[in-house]
Amino acid sequence: MAKNSTSTGLAPPKLVVEGLCKRYGKVAALEPTQLSVPSGEFLTLLGPSGSGKTTLLQLVCGLVEATEGKVFIDGQDQSDTPVYQRDIGLVFQHYALFPHLTVSENIAFPLKMRRQPAAEIKTRVSDALDMVHLGHLSARFPRELSGGQQQRVALARCFVYQPSIILMDEPLGALDKKLRDHMQIEIKRLHRESGATIIYVTHDQEEALALSDRICLMNHARIEQLGTPHDIYMRPRSAFAADFIGISNILRGTFERNGGGTKLVTPHGAFYLPEGIATNGEGGGLVVRPEHLRIGADSPNTLCGSVKEIVYAGSETRVIAQLTDGHEIILRLPPGQSVPRMGDTISASWDKDVAALVP
């Protein structure tokens, strides 16, 4: 029985993964990984393709056999339980609705497999259909539905049998932007209403920030950083994390320690570091988010450059400026603020405490 190591305190973790790894020959799809997910949490596995997030998902649900390691659900060792006895729900990227079954037959499928009485199946299917607002389409076949509707059927088919854990493998990947935004709200609502534990795979950082209680950032088949969205956005622990979540300006340099505080000396100038930050090693990269840069030289931390490109995006204007050594930085100006012109020389400054330091 694994120890509960998360911040929720007394509640036993829903899922614990211990030293789980998967190798294909010499290639590691997932390095040995530890993870603990408390009941009711919405955890996102975020990372680029090939980072191991889908492998981790498949190992948890049992579609792929682990090379080593264990999976505990509600404290029970499930490592050798076949996928169909694991009591896990999986929402597939391309929905995986059965084309030969109607919407309601698709949703009834998991209940039938669990030998529920017919009357019970009927009420639960209609409840699930109502939950995703598709009651009027119950007799249709999947190919007669739009992509968004199909995805909602897939969600209903998963929520209907109330599995211990619901896994979602890039469920919104095939939808267009507008529908995706809408479905994100839908999934948030389902999560809130059902209280289910959800592990959600995506490579879209905005989606991860919008949905998650915690984000598990993955890269090169291992966990890069695990934390709340705010944590990961504001305090990235690596250049990869800073770069993958949001656009970042990273200024690299070496530390200069002298009495009062530590400065980072870069080709673009020497900058003050955030208060109380640990500075290990010779140097590092200072992460400054584009929205934290403002035009003007009102802070000791200031960069100078000439405007190369101006991108108007409605809710904001992005300005790309080139520093004297050719390095480019991005600023994000809120609407209403005066925008420089192409070729202008500008100063961009930031408050030292909003920046983050990465190795």
Binding site: P99, F109, M113, Y161
Partner: protein, 586 residues
Amino acid sequence: MSTLVASQPRRSVLKGRFLRAHPLWLAVPGLAFLLIFFAYPVASLLFLSVTDTETGSWSIASFARIANTDVYLRVLGITFKIAGNTALLSLLIGYPLAYWIAGLPERFRNRMLLFVMIPFWTSYLVKTFAWMIILGRSGVINNLLLGSGVAEPLPLLHNEFGVMVGMVHAMVPLAAMTMLPVMTSIDRRLVSAAQTLGSSPAHAFWLVYFKLSLPGVTAAGLLVFISSLGFFIVPAFLGGRQETMLAQLIITQVSELLNWPFAGALAAMMLVTALFACWIYDRIFGISTISGGAVVESTGRIRLIGLKVLEIVAALASRIAAAARLLFGKKITALFLPIVCWSIIAFLVVPTLLVLPMGFTSSEFLEFPPPGYSMRWFGTYFSSPLWTSATLRSFGVAFATAIVATAIGGFAALALANSRSRWSGLIFAFFLAPMIVPRIVIAVGMFYLFAQIGLVASNTGLVIGHTVLAVPFTLVAISAVLKNYDMRLDQAAATLGASRVRTLVSVTIPMIKGGLIAAFLFAFITSFDELTIAIFVSGGLKTTLPKQMWDDMILQLNPTLAAVSVVVFVLVTTLLLLAERFRRSA
């Protein structure tokens, strides 16, 4: 009415444009060719069956004779029985094989596919010859049995057993190849999905995979049944008098008794049965599923009953699978499918391979294993003017057929790929019809036509006949390549100033070259080992290689036949491997 009048002028404008540049015009030469040499002869044969040749008036005398003669009714019954059993057994054997191959990783899959392709394209004569050597009274099996102390040789040949072995062996590749495209297009993630939703592997297979593969299964059953209806090589050599099939009867009526109306009536019955089977299939599944169209899920009670039956089967299978796992352990159970499939592949490939050493025997007789090896029978083959002239004629005819069929199929494929007309589906079906109509029906009809216009016993007649049979293959091969061809390249060439002809010659044809060569080779093989038409159309001294083999096999088995079989098998397999390579590279 008023709308009709109003649309009149617009329609004539459209019509004018149609006449000028509509892509379907490219299909016209092929359509004309098939109308004259395929549709017309078959139709006139049917017409003949209800005509009194003396007076030229309508008559159902031929059908009355069939209905009133026990022998003919029995032949009909046997033909249906053998065709039905063949279809059933071919599905049972072909399904696991196709399932297994469809589930292999792609690179590996293409290699395993050759084990189905090679038996599929191997000449029926060679395959039948192989079974005669294996099943005969002093054949391979009986030799082994007698060697191990069995007193009496088993009667394996010239009975129903022999026919069924030969028929199933000939038809399993067709069944597997028809099921494969449906199976490879099934999304295997659906099976995973079913398992995450709580189905055992057996439930997931029957309720999801098997259900989704059913269109392929029924299409394969239909094609095998129809092809088996027209078989004559296998029953002629492996069956006894009890197993005489309809096609043999037709051959006798035409070539020995010259009773055209009666042959026409027999052919009509075969054709009507085939079309009836197609019609039933269309009513239940929709004929477009054969060419890969979407399956329209039927609704209502039949569908629900079907699902219920599958649930019962799944529950049973799940118990059996659980028991097997318990009995043999997980590891060994997982080996069942590969073991079964390798056995099936052995059944398909090994008999033909046994012929190879027989060609090099030093003995006067066909015994296995050969007592010694020599090249003497190849010497006999190549020094016989009869065999060499037949071989050369087959080469020439196959070459001409391949060129004509590739041209016709190529233009038709281009026409269909470029056209969105609602006629396209119908035209495609018409071009494929020579594959559906039993060959013997086409052959007899063509013989009748050729007899009137003096093309019997001519090379031209052979080329025309073989082209009719080869066009479906070339059309399918070239259409498959064009499906992946980006038509915007043609548009790009046009915007860059290339004329239509120029675009075809310098853009389209170079891009689909691989498909064209593959089509050419498939057509070549089709003609090279074609027998049905050759039996009627090649005559006297102008025989083809398969016709010469047929005559020799009827007369007496001899080692020269084995040598010829080796040459035919090696040649066809080489061409097939080449064709596959070009098809892939396209």
